[in-house]
Each structure stands twice: as structure tokens, then as C-alpha cells.
């Protein structure tokens, strides 16, 4: 019984299996018939068509490069656009004798030694069958001259190409960046991102700034033409084509006029300025001085220009706001102050009597105040206003390094701001753990002392300092800084605004914020360290000055601004937000080797705020402005510079 059922099962299964095999057999038959039909279609029905394609020396697919998106400022002033120019290009593999050809060409149109240099450089970097630029920007006459003689030069082509141009030249070049010829590294990156086919016709790619970070938005989609070509490789007939889609246009949050005012205000001095709209994180001005002309890079920069830019002591190619690191100096104090208040230290009516120095218990070392003899009776508000070092030395020690750093980290210190251009550095907010890792040494109390006044290991970028000021103005809310405020889709014409992004929020006591704000407002009032900056402003400015040492001063030496090498002078720092009651702009200014923050950096900040808030154009020349101002000679702290053994390892804030 059992075995017969098994047998039945087995037979059933056999039957089932064979049925399923038969179905598959049918499936195979259908699939092969499908292929046979396709062969019939290709090889019999459309034979003539394909035959012709194959016979006529086949077809070629020609990429059509899309127009790169435009970059303009918030008011529509163009930072980067494209225009057509005639170029002369040579494909070395198609030319019998390169030297004679070039010398014959140079009898028709001018070929400068710089052109030749670039040609040879590019020739060595590319394959023989690629066409290489010999001349760009041919004028109409030159183009016509060559066109007439074209038959004499096989392998040489007159082309009309789209060129990137930066009409504002040096203005804002660190923001916009530049494009350059695609090199092997770019190719590798494109290949990894699976974008190579979209760059078939492109010679250029964003190399820095917005041009680099928004490459995918700006580039657009490459179109193509499927063309029939004859034996000489010339297009005979277009078989099909797809038009390219232009890259999207970018609208920056930058105000080019504001940018101009900021850059002009620096004059010949080196430094950086970043201005932010606190409520949104929009970057309003972003100056890195000196700047350079990005137009030099588009075609491949010539050797001499590159050398002079690259070897210049002023380092114009460095993006100072993002990559320049400086000790924050006294501009760090408002944040230390807030850290103290929020941790319940130094609440009013607490005050100290400042003797002009601070000493750690069991140490004879004196951490000096910038003002010999001290400031007398000082409470928190006044300590900010007059930038009292002694006050902050004590506060830092009482807070301890861990509480101090973990609080100010919320203001972006020690971390990248996340702005939308690449290669930002994160500065340095030192902790005992960091020091152990880096130097294999324990943390010293004295290092906490000087961290309280923004000296020691602490390093900030101008971007970070501006961002910290914006966060302070925004009452603890961090908005990610953005240079691009809107993107216009060139296909649909629709403009989409970049949404402000909140990345951090620390809840702060209004009362404490008020104390710091009042202290900072007093800075720009008579008696403050930047009284001249606030004079006749018409709006209230909350600010803080700072000075960062370049060269260490020995304990008993005196800093003499007049007799010191210009490049060894202190860096001048200034942060501010205004109007203090309802902040519309927050900024940070650094003037390298500028001396005092209030007198060197402050006036630049004032001009920027005046224009942004009141639409007022600057009247005074920046260079004279810094001479005429008189302010208390604040705060060149040299606490670190000491011959005494215990503190020797701290001797590096140059």
C-alpha cells in the first residue's frame, strides 16, 4: 500500500517534471524565434541601411559640450560666464612635420612664445590623436586668414569654442574659483563617479571654489550628434542628435559691491574678511587678500604668471578665510565669557581688582595683562570692553580646559564650518587628550590660563571666527554657512532657493547673552578698545578686537611696532555684529601684520557694515584711516613668551 503510493507519487512527480521541462522547451523555442526575428529585421529588412552605414566608412558620434552654468551675485552681477572665441588646434598624429607646420602657421597668425610653451606642455601631457590648442582668442581677421589657407594645413583646425570668463577679474576669485583643463587625476575621479561619458566633449572642469564644489550643477548634460563621416573624418550628414542641456546657473549670497568695498578696504594689506547673515548663514562677503585673476587659469596658466603667483611672499593663491589659521587672540574672550556665565561663574556683581598680572598658585610666573599696572576694578562686562587679560586668565583656570572647550565647540571652534566650497581646514581647539596624542605630553595649567585669552595652541580660520560671531549674534543657533543662495534650472527656468540649514543649537540664558552683548557694544563706545569704529555709526555695533602675535616676545622685552620687521608685526583681528539689537550682519576681519585689531581691522569692518546696513559708500581711504585713529593700545599678550623653565614648551604662537 505504502509502496504503491510512493510509486504513484514518484510517477506524479516524473510527470510533473516532464511537463515543466516541456514548458521550458517551448520557452527556449520562443526565445530563439525572437532572436531569429531580430536577425531577420537587422540583416534582411534593414540590410541596406546598415550596409550603407558600414560602407560609408561608418558613423561617428560627436559630443556637443553643454554651456556651463553662470555664476552671479545676489543682485545679478555676473562673476563667471562663457563666450565664444576662435581657437587654432592641432592634432599631432595628423600632421607630418609639426615644426614646419607651426612655423608656416605663424606666418599667417601670430604665435607667441607663451603659446608655444603651452602647446608643448599640453602635447607632452596628452595623446597624439587629441587636438591641442595652439592659439586662442583669434580675432576676425586672423580667423579669416587661416580659413582661406586651411587646405594647406591638414590636421590643423579652426574651431569656435566656448570659453569661461570671469568679468570681475580679481574680485572674489577665492569664492568663485576657476576652471582648468581636465587632467589625469580629474579623469580618474570622473571615471570613479561614472561620469566619464558626460565629459566626452569637455576640456575643462572646476578646479577650485564654487566652480569646483558645484561642478555637477554647473556642467550640464553633454549632447551628441550621430554623424556619418567620410574617409577624411569630415561630417557628411547628421543621423540623429540630442541637444545638450546647459548647466544650471548659480546665484551667490555674495553682494559684489560689498565684496568690492571689503577688498578695496584692505588696500595693499594681506588678510581676510568674512561677513555672514546670522539668521540664514548666507555669506555676504568673503575676501581673501591679496587675490589673483582666475582668468589666467582657464587656458592653462603660463609659466611666468604661475611662478609669480606661487612664489609671492603674499601667497595670493591661498584661500585665507578657509585655510589661513591664526590664534584668535582676544576675539576669543566673548566666548570664554559666555562659557563662564553659563557655568555660573563671574555672574554680576562679581568683580576682580586687576593688579596687571595673574599668577598660578605655587608659581612665580606672572601672566601679564596687556596694560602694565592693570585695569583696577573689573567685572565681566567691563572685562570684555577693555579686554582685561587678568580677568580671563582667572576665569579660564576656574572653568578648567574641558568645560571651556566643550562649551565653545558649540560656536564652531575646532571644526569645519561646512561652507559649500572645498578644502576648508578645521582650526584647532586644544584639549589635554589632543596634546597627549600630538606631543605625548601632559596638559599644563599655564596652557589653560592662556587659552582663556585666545592664545596658546588655539587656532581659528577667519571663516570660523565669522561663524562663531554669527552664532553668538544668533543666540546659540548654528546655521550652516552658504555661498550659493539659489540655483536656476536652465531647462525649466525655475529658481530654487537653497534652504537654510540649522546644524547645532545650544540653549543659552538671555541674561548671560545680554551681559556679553553689552560688553561688546561698549567696545565700540568711547572707552572701549575700538571706540573709533563705533563713532557716528548710527547703529549699535557689538564687537571685539584682538591681536595675535607673530613673533614671541621675551618676558622682559617690549613690543615695539615701529622697529619690528613688517612681517613680524602682530596680526590684527576684529569681530562684530550689527545692529546689536537685531543682528543683520556678523563678520570677522583679520589683517595680517596689521598691528592692533581696533585700528587696523576695525575700519574695514565698519565700511562693510555701513554699506550693508545703510548703503553708505566709504569716503576715507583705508590706509589713512588706520593712521588717524587713536585707541587704547590694547592687548599684545605675551604671556607665553617666557624664559622660565616650567613654561618653556608653550613658546609657539608665531
Amino acid at each position: 500500500m505504502k509502496s504503491s503510493r510512493e510509486l504513484k507519487n514518484y510517477q506524479n512527480e516524473q510527470h510533473n517534471f516532464k511537463l515543466r521541462l516541456a514548458v521550458l522547451g517551448l520557452f527556449v523555442f520562443i526565445a530563439f524565434s525572437l532572436l531569429a526575428t531580430r536577425f531577420y529585421y537587422l540583416q534582411i529588412k534593414r540590410y541596406d541601411y546598415y550596409q550603407t552605414l558600414a560602407e560609408n566608412n561608418r558613423i561617428s558620434i560627436v559630443p556637443i559640450t553643454p554651456n556651463r552654468g553662470l555664476i552671479s551675485d545676489r543682485n545679478g552681477v555676473v562673476f563667471a560666464h562663457n563666450f565664444f572665441v576662435y581657437t587654432l588646434e592641432i592634432t599631432p598624429s595628423k600632421v607630418a612635420n609639426l615644426e614646419t607646420t607651426i612655423s608656416e602657421i605663424s606666418q599667417l597668425v601670430e604665435v607667441s612664445p607663451a603659446d608655444l610653451k603651452r602647446f608643448n606642455k599640453q602635447k607632452n601631457e596628452s595623446h597624439n590623436f587629441e587636438s591641442i590648442l595652439l592659439r586662442t582668442h583669434l580675432n576676425e581677421v586672423e580667423a579669416a586668414k587661416f580659413a582661406v589657407n586651411r587646405y594647406r594645413f591638414p590636421g590643423v583646425e579652426l574651431k569656435s569654442r566656448l570659453f569661461r570668463h570671469y568679468p570681475l577679474g580679481k574680485r572674489g576669485s577665492h569664492i568663485v574659483g576657476y576652471i582648468g583643463r581636465i587632467n589625469d587625476k580629474d579623469l580618474k575621479n570622473l571615471e570613479e563617479a561614472n561620469l566619464l561619458s558626460n565629459y566626452k566633449g569637455s576640456d575643462h572642469i572646476g578646479k577650485s571654489g564654487i566652480e569646483q564644489s558645484y561642478e555637477s550643477t554647473l556642467h550640464g548634460t553633454t549632447g551628441f550628434q550621430q554623424v556619418e563621416i567620410d574617409a577624411d573624418g569630415r561630417a557628411v550628414r547628421i543621423l540623429s542628435s540630442q541637444t545638450p542641456i546647459s548647466g544650471n546657473n548659480l546665484i551667490l549670497s555674495i553682494d559684489s559691491k560689498l565684496q568690492e568695498i571689503a577688498e578695496t578696504a584692505f588696500g595693499e594689506r594681506r588678510g581676510a574678511l568674512v561677513a555672514i547673515k546670522p539668521s540664514t548663514g548666507e555669506v555676504l562677503a568673503f575676501a581673501s587678500m591679496p587675490t589673483f585673476d582666475p582668468n589666467l587659469f582657464v587656458d592653462g596658466i603660463d609659466f611666468d604668471s604661475w611662478n609669480s603667483l606661487n612664489n609671492s611672499l603674499d601667497k595670493p593663491l591661498i584661500n585665507r578665510p578657509l585655510r589661513g589659521v591664526y590664534p584668535p587672540g582676544s576675539t576669543f574672550k566673548p566666548f570664554v565669557a559666555l562659557a563662564g556665565l553659563e557655568n555660573g561663574k563671574r555672574q554680576p556683581p562679581f568683580s576682580i581688582s586687576d593688579p596687571g598680572y595673574f599668577m598660578l598658585p605655587n608659581s612665580r610666573h606672572r601672566y601679564r595683562d596687556w596694560k602694565p599696572g592693570g585695569h583696577g576694578n573689573v567685572d565681566m562686562r567691563r572685562a570684555i570692553t577693555i579686554s582685561c587679560d587678568t580677568f580671563f586668565y582667572g576665569l579660564a583656570i576656574e572653568l578648567g580646559i574641558d568645560k571651556l572647550t566643550s562649551f565653545v565647540r558649540h560656536f564652531g571652534f575646532g571644526q569645519k564650518s561646512g561652507i559649500d566650497i572645498a578644502n576648508e581646514v578645521g582650526g584647532l581647539l586644544p584639549t589635554p587628550e589632543w596634546k597627549m596624542r600630538r606631543y605625548k605630553q601632559p596638559w599644563y595649567m599655564g596652557e589653560t590660563v592662556i587659552t582663556g585669552i585666545g592664545q596658546g595652541y588655539t587656532l581659528v580660520t577667519p571663516m570660523q571666527l565669522a561663524q562663531a560671531t554669527a552664532i553668538l549674534a544668533n543666540k546659540g543657533i548654528t546655521m550652516r554657512p552658504r555661498l550659493v543662495s539659489a540655483i536656476t534650472d536652465t531647462k525649466t527656468g525655475a529658481t530654487s532657493l537653497t534652504k537654510p540649514i540649522m546644524t547645532d543649537k545650544i540653549s543659552l540664558d538671555e541674561k548671560n547673552l545680554e551681559i556679553v552683548k553689552l560688553g561688546m557694544i561698549d567696545v565700540t563706545l568711547p572707552g572701549g578698545t575700538a571706540a573709533s569704529v563705533g563713532a557716528n555709526a548710527g547703529y549699535s555695533i557689538a564687537a571685539k578686537t584682538g591681536t595675535a602675535q607673530v613673533v614671541g616676545i621675551k618676558q622682559n622685552e617690549k613690543y615695539d611696532e615701529k622697529n619690528i620687521n613688517e612681517r613680524h608685526r602682530d596680526h590684527a583681528l576684529f569681530i562684530a555684529y550689527a545692529p546689536a539689537e537685531d543682528p543683520k550682519i556678523a563678520l570677522a576681519v583679520i589683517v595680517e601684520n596689521g598691528g592692533h585689531g581696533g585700528s587696523a581691522a576695525g575700519p574695514i569692518a565698519r565700511m562693510v557694515m555701513d554699506y550693508y546696513l545703510l548703503g553708505k559708500l566709504p569716503i576715507i581711504e583705508p590706509s589713512t584711516a588706520s593712521e588717524n585713529v587713536t585707541t587704547p593700545n590694547e592687548n599684545t599678550t605675551n604671556a607665553l613668551a617666557t624664559p622660565s623653565g616650567t613654561m618653556a614648551e608653550e613658546e609657539h604662537y608665531d
Binding site: K18, L24, G25, Q51, R58, P63, S197
Partner: protein, 365 residues
């Protein structure tokens, strides 16, 4: 004496199948000679591949199918382990991580899976002879998905596609209910638009290009465009051996490997293509017969799967070259240049022969 020896030597070789295979391989050598620009070097390298592959086939044919059944699980596990090893230590070539460097030689574990995965599934179902339940199919699907996902991650779309089809054939032949099959197809069809609407634009674009390469003639589409021109210009009888202009003038990419069929079609035309279809059809038919006559569940399922995987190879390759299927990296079986695919294919046919020729012995013994 000698004839006895020969008889012993070829006792387990299925002569009909062997005849078809050898003829196809011979045709392949001629096409390769033309496609490689008349390179004897290429052809002799392929001859070495063929010699190795035939030895492997002979060995497999002489092994009892029962042994295969016993080693199915360990081979599968080894395959999965090696795939994991590739994931961790693998060698990257052409942007994909497929090779495992053992120091003395490099192996491609996904190739092992081509046989190991259907063997594992056939073994699994042979343990649930009578009527597998739904849960068994679920377990089978998981067993299949493990190697498929690992290979897809390498990324090797072609191989993972072939392995999933080989596994699917086992599941189907094991008796997956028709309701499931039809229901599943309808469900997938119905879910497609919803899935589509969930994709990002760029993802859609990528799939669209996969389906219709002419949208991206600078990239993926270039192959297909050139291959269809080659095929179409072949006409009824072709341009003649060594005379394909598309093939000879460098217009066809990968013309000794994945796109060798374009060379064949250009030089031998519609007639050649149909002949190849018939050859493949005969091989498949013989495989199906072997499967139908097989005696155990394991051998039956394995034979069916091996045969239909061969079909998938052939269909996908010819389909992609002639422009009706997306371009995935699948070689033309028995013809494309390459050692690994030749070895795995003939290993499969060796197993088929073993199943066929050991059957009578089992029955009488």
C-alpha cells in the same frame, strides 16, 4: 585492445552532445581567428583553454553523480566563503572586485558558484522529494540570494544574473506552484510603476540607458550601435570569413569576448546566425532529454538547470549584441575567448554526461 581502451576512455562521453559541442567550439576558433585580427597567439591560447576545459569535462563525466550530491553542500559553503574573501581582500580590476589572489594563482570565486549554486539547490530539494512546501521554496530562495547578492556587489551583473537564473530554474523544476509563478509575475508587473515612481531621476536615467543604450551613445550605447551595424551589414550570407569591415577595422569593441557574436554575424550573415541557433538548440534539446530521463531528483534538477543556464548564456549574449537586451557582461558560450567560462561550461556538460551515462549502471546495479 586499443579499441577496448578507447571504449573505456569514452564510456561516459555522450557522443551526440560531444559532437555538437566540438563542432560549436571549432566554429568558435575560426571566428576568434578573424576577430582577433588573425592572431595565432590568441587562437592557441584559446586552444589551451579548450584542452583544459575538455579534461575537466572528461573528469566530471566519469564521476558518479552521487559524489556530486555528497559534495554539493561543502562546495557551496566554500564558494560563499571565497566570495566573502573577495569582498574583503579581493583584487580590483576594471573597477570591479572579482579576483582573489592566492599568491600562486588568481581565482574568480563567482565562477565556482555557477555550478555550486544549482548543485546546492538541487541537493536541497532532493531532501524534500515528494512535494516541497512553501517554506522550502523560501529557504531555497535565500540559499540562492546569498551568492547572488555577494556577486552583484562586486559588481558583476552578468554573472549574478546567470546564477540567479540557474537557481530559478532549479526552483521552477522542483515544482514551484504555477499560481506562485503567475501570481509573482503579475505582482512584479503591477509593482513596477510604483517602484519606478520611487526612484530618483538619475537612477531612472541609468535604468533607461541600460534598457535603451542609444540614449547614451558616448558610453554604454556605443557598443550596441556598432554591433547592430556589424550584424545588419552582414546580410543574408555575410561578408565572408575575415572580411567583416566593422570587425576588421577596430569599430567593434570587445570583439573577441562579449561581442564576438557581432563578428560572427557580420561575416556569416543570417545563415550563419540561424545555423548557430540550431546548434545551440540541439545542445539544449539533448540536455532536456537527459534531464527528462534522469532518475533521481538531484540529477534531474541539476541536469535541467545546467541546460537552461546554457540557454540563458546564449540568449542573453545574442540578445544584447543584437540590441534587444541591455548590455550585461555575458560571453557567448563555447565561442567567446576566455578560459574560465569555457571551463565552467564544459564542466556543466561533463556533469550532464555523467548523469546520462551512469544512469544505466544505477538501474542494473
Amino acid at each position: 585492445m586499443i579499441s577496448q581502451l578507447l571504449q573505456g576512455l569514452f564510456k561516459h562521453i555522450d557522443s551526440f552532445l560531444m559532437g555538437c559541442l566540438l563542432f560549436t567550439i571549432l566554429v568558435g576558433l575560426f571566428v576568434l581567428y578573424s576577430a582577433s585580427g588573425q592572431s595565432f597567439e590568441r587562437v592557441s591560447a584559446q586552444l589551451v583553454n579548450i584542452a583544459i576545459a575538455l579534461s575537466v569535462m572528461w573528469l566530471a563525466a566519469n564521476v558518479q553523480p552521487q559524489l556530486l550530491e555528497r559534495i554539493a553542500v561543502p562546495v557551496y559553503l566554500l564558494g560563499v566563503l571565497l566570495l566573502l574573501a573577495v569582498e574583503i581582500f579581493g583584487h580590483i580590476s576594471h573597477g570591479a572586485q572579482r579576483w582573489l589572489d592566492l599568491g600562486f594563482t588568481k581565482i574568480q570565486p563567482s565562477e565556482i558558484m555557477r555550478i555550486a549554486a544549482p548543485m546546492m539547490l538541487a541537493w536541497f530539494f532532493s531532501k524534500h522529494d515528494a512535494s516541497p512546501r512553501v517554506i522550502d521554496f523560501v529557504i531555497a530562495a535565500v540559499l540562492l540570494l546569498i551568492p547572488v547578492i555577494l556577486i552583484m556587489k562586486q559588481p558583476d551583473l552578468g554573472t549574478s544574473l546567470l546564477i540567479s537564473s540557474s537557481g530559478f530554474f532549479v526552483i521552477y523544476l522542483a515544482g514551484l506552484s504555477w499560481r506562485f509563478l503567475i501570481g509573482g509575475t503579475v505582482l512584479v508587473g503591477a509593482l513596477m510603476p510604483i517602484f519606478w515612481s520611487m526612484l530618483h531621476d538619475y537612477q531612472r536615467k541609468r535604468i533607461e540607458i541600460l534598457i535603451d543604450p542609444s540614449q547614451d551613445p558616448l558610453g554604454a550605447g556605443y557598443h550596441t550601435i556598432q554591433a547592430t551595424i556589424a550584424l545588419g551589414s552582414g546580410g543574408v550570407t555575410g561578408k565572408g570569413w575575415l572580411n567583416g569591415s566593422q570587425a576588421q577595422l577596430d569599430f567593434l569593441p570587445e570583439r573577441t569576448t562579449d561581442f564576438i557574436f557581432a563578428v560572427f554575424g557580420e561575416e556569416f550573415g543570417m545563415a550563419g546566425n540561424l545555423m548557430l541557433l540550431v546548434l545551440f538548440g540541439l545542445i539544449i534539446a539533448r540536455g532536456l532529454v537527459i534531464a527528462a530521463q534522469a532518475q533521481s531528483t538531484f540529477t534531474r534538477l541539476l541536469a535541467g538547470s545546467i541546460t537552461l543556464t546554457f540557454f540563458t548564456y546564449a540568449f542573453v549574449n545574442m540578445g544584447m549584441v543584437s540590441g534587444i537586451l541591455p548590455v550585461v557582461g555575458v560571453p557567448l558560450p563555447l565561442i567567446s575567448y576566455g578560459g574560465t567560462s569555457m571551463v565552467t561550461l564544459l564542466l556543466g556538460f561533463g556533469i550532464l554526461m555523467s548523469i546520462q551515462t551512469h544512469k544505466k549502471l544505477v538501474a542494473s546495479g
